[in-house]
C-alpha cells in the first residue's frame, strides 16, 4: 500500500530554503570576518600571547607553512588553512577564498553580507517558529504520547530540538554580545559568556556545530530517499510504502503503557529527516 502524505506546509518549505541560503551565506561571510583576526580568546580582552586557537602562517625550515593551533596542539594545514595555494603562488589567509564571501579579502564586505543575512535568518526563523507553534506543527519535535504515523525517532527529536532551542539562540545571542552598542545597552550580555572575546569564540565554535548538523542532515536526507525527501520539502508531498498485515490490524486506539513513544514499524529508510 502506498500512502501520500502532505508532510510540510508552505511556510515550513519556504522558510526552510531561505534558512538554508542564509546559513550558507552567514557561514562563508563569517569566515571572512574571522580572517581579519584569526585568533580566539577567552575573557573580555585579547592578549596576543593568550589566544587558545590560531590559524596562521609561519616559517619553518625556510618554508612558509600554514597551521592551525589549538592550545598546545598544532597541525600543518598548508594549502587549506593559513596558507592558500593560488596560481600566483601561496598567500597567507586563515580560511581559503573559496570558503569566504566575498572571495577576496574584504572585511567590510563580509560584514555587509553577514548582517543582512543575520536579519533574514532571525526574521525567517521567527516566521517558521511562530507559524508552526500556532498551528501545532512544532509538537512533532517533542516527546509525545500520541501515536504518530510518521514520527521522528528520539535521536531526531533530540537533534532538532537541540538546534532549535540551544544552538540557534546561542549563535544569535553570542553574535549580539559582540556589539559595542548592545554591550552599552545590556552590560550583562557579554558577561553571559564570560566576556566579549569569549562570546566571539563561542559564536565561532557554534558555527561548526551548525555545520556538523547541516552535514548530518544532508547525509540523512540523501540516504533515506533523496527524491522523496526533496519532493516533500519542495511540494510538501511525501510517499510511503506501508505494510499493513491483513489479518491483524495495528491497534492504535490506546497508547502503550510505558514510554508512549510507539512508532509505526516501518522501514528505517522511510523515516523523516
Amino acid at each position: 500500500m502506498v500512502s501520500r502524505q502532505y508532510r510540510h506546509n508552505l511556510i515550513t518549505r519556504s522558510t526552510h530554503w531561505v534558512n538554508a541560503l542564509a546559513l550558507v551565506i552567514l557561514f562563508m561571510s563569517g569566515l571572512q570576518i574571522f580572517n581579519a583576526y584569526p585568533n580566539l580568546h577567552w575573557g573580555h580582552k585579547s592578549e596576543p600571547e593568550e589566544a587558545f586557537l590560531t590559524i596562521s602562517a609561519t616559517e619553518e625550515k625556510g618554508e612558509i607553512i600554514g597551521y592551525l593551533r589549538l592550545y598546545n596542539w598544532s597541525v600543518n594545514t598548508t594549502g587549506f588553512l593559513g596558507i592558500q595555494n593560488t596560481p600566483a603562488g601561496p598567500i597567507p589567509r586563515a580560511f581559503p577564498s573559496w570558503l569566504t564571501i566575498p572571495g577576496f579579502f574584504w572585511l567590510a564586505g563580509g560584514r555587509r553580507w553577514h548582517f543582512f543575512f543575520a536579519w533574514l535568518f532571525v526574521l525567517n526563523g521567527l516566521l517558521y517558529i511562530l507559524y508552526n507553534a500556532v498551528t501545532g506543527n512544532l509538537r512533532k519535535f517533542f516527546p509525545s504520547r500520541r501515536f504518530q504515523l510518521l514520527g521522528y525517532n528520539r535521536l531526531q527529536k533530540l537533534t532538532y530540538v537541540g538546534v532549535l532551542v540551544i544552538l540557534t539562540p546561542l549563535i544569535i545571542v553570542s553574535g549580539l554580545a559582540m556589539s559595542p552598542q548592545l554591550n552599552v545597552a545590556f552590560n550583562w550580555l557579554p558577561e553571559l559568556f564570560g566576556g566579549r572575546q569569549s562570546a566571539r569564540s563561542i559564536h565561532f565554535l557554534t558555527t561548526f556545530l551548525f555545520a556538523l548538523f547541516t552535514f548530518g542532515h544532508i547525509l540523512m536526507v540523501a540516504v533515506s530517499g533523496i527524491i522523496n525527501n526533496m519532493r516533500s520539502m519542495i511540494t510538501g508531498w511525501y510517499t510511503q510504502e506501508i505494510h499493513v498485515p491483513k489479518t491483524a490490524p495495528v491497534k492504535v486506539e490506546q497508547p502503550p503503557e510505558e514510554t508512549g513513544l510507539l512508532q509505526f514499524k516501518e522501514d528505517d529508510k522511510n523515516g523523516e529527516t
Partner: protein
C-alpha cells in the same frame, strides 16, 4: 515490499550528481558572490541592514546607559595601534617635543561660538577618566584607561545651532596616497557621557601611536570611529559634501557609518 534493484543504482547516480553539484557550487560560489558584491544594485540592498541595526540597537538602549568600566588590574598589557602611521612631519614632532604648545583644536561649522582650544584649555573644561574596552572591527579587544574632556562639555561651550546633526573630526594622519583621515558621529553619540576627547592613556600623555595629542573615544562604537591626531571639529547638517560623502575615511571605502555592531 521489495525495493526494485534499480533504486540502488539510481540513488548512486543521484548521489554522484549531488556531489558534482556541490563541487560546482563551491567552485563557482566565489565568483557568484564576488560578482553580486560588486553589483551596484545588490550592495545597497545588503547595506540597508545598517539602518536597521542603528535604529533597533538604539531603541533597545536605555537613556544614559554606560559601557562597562573595568578595574586597573584588567588593563591590557598590549594595545595594538591600528590605522595610518603617525603624521611624523617636522612640525608635528617639534610641537610634540614642546608639549603641544602650538597645537590647537579648531571648532567650526554650525555652532554659535566657534573657537580654538589649546590642550591646556581643553583640560580645564572638565575631565572624565574611564577604563573601557576597545573593540576593533577586526575582532580583537583591548582594555585601557582614558582621560579626556567630555565632548558634551565642549558642546556646551560652542553651542551647536539647531541644524547641526553631525560632528566631523579632521585628523593629521594620512594614508599612503596622502588622503587625510576623518570621521564623524551624530549628536546622539556625541552627547553620550563616555564620549570624550582623550589626551591621556593609562595615566600617561596620549602616546604618538594612539593619536597624540588628542583622540576620540566613543564607547558605543567600534574602534574605527575613534579618530586620532584630531586638529579640527566641524558641526554639520549633512555628511554628503565631506570627503567621499559617506561620513568617514573607512566609510568611503565601504565600512558602515554606524559601527555599533
Amino acid at each position: 515490499m521489495e525495493r526494485p534493484s534499480s533504486t540502488i543504482s539510481r540513488r548512486k547516480v543521484l548521489l554522484m550528481a549531488i556531489q558534482g553539484a556541490a563541487a560546482l557550487m563551491v567552485g563557482g560560489c566565489k565568483n557568484i558572490f564576488d560578482q553580486l558584491h560588486q553589483n551596484k544594485k545588490i550592495l545597497p540592498v545588503l547595506e540597508s541592514a545598517e539602518g536597521l541595526n542603528r535604529r533597533v540597537q538604539r531603541l533597545l538602549t536605555p537613556k544614559n546607559a554606560l559601557a562597562k568600566e573595568f578595574s586597573e588590574q584588567e588593563i591590557s598589557s598590549y594595545f595594538k595601534a591600528n590605522g595610518n602611521p603617525p603624521p611624523l612631519d617636522q612640525q608635528y614632532v617639534l610641537d610634540g617635543l614642546r608639549g603641544w604648545a602650538s597645537w590647537r583644536l579648531e571648532v567650526v561649522g554650525q555652532v554659535k561660538k566657534p573657537r580654538k582650544f589649546s590642550l591646556a584649555q581643553l583640560k580645564r573644561i572638565s575631565s572624565r577618566t574611564q577604563i573601557t574596552r576597545h573593540d576593533c572591527v577586526e575582532g580583537w579587544s583591548a582594555i585601557a584607561k582614558w582621560k579626556g574632556a567630555p565632548l558634551s562639555e565642549l558642546i556646551k561651550v560652542v553651542q551647536p545651532k539647531t541644524e547641526a546633526r553631525y560632528v566631523v573630526f579632521y585628523c593629521l594622519d594620512t594614508d599612503a596616497q596622502g588622503t587625510h583621515f576623518y570621521q564623524s558621529i551624530d549628536l546622539h553619540d556625541a552627547m553620550h557621557p563616555q564620549t570624550i576627547l582623550a589626551y591621556e592613556m593609562n595615566g600617561q600623555a596620549l602616546p604618538i601611536e594612539h593619536g597624540a595629542p588628542l583622540r576620540l573615544r566613543v564607547e558605543t562604537q567600534l574602534g574605527y570611529k575613534m579618530a586620532k591626531y584630531i586638529t579640527k571639529i566641524e558641526f554639520v547638517t549633512s555628511l554628503k559634501e565631506i570627503g567621499g560623502g559617506k561620513g568617514g575615511y573607512w566609510e568611503d571605502l565601504g565600512y558602515a557609518w554606524y559601527a555599533g555592531i
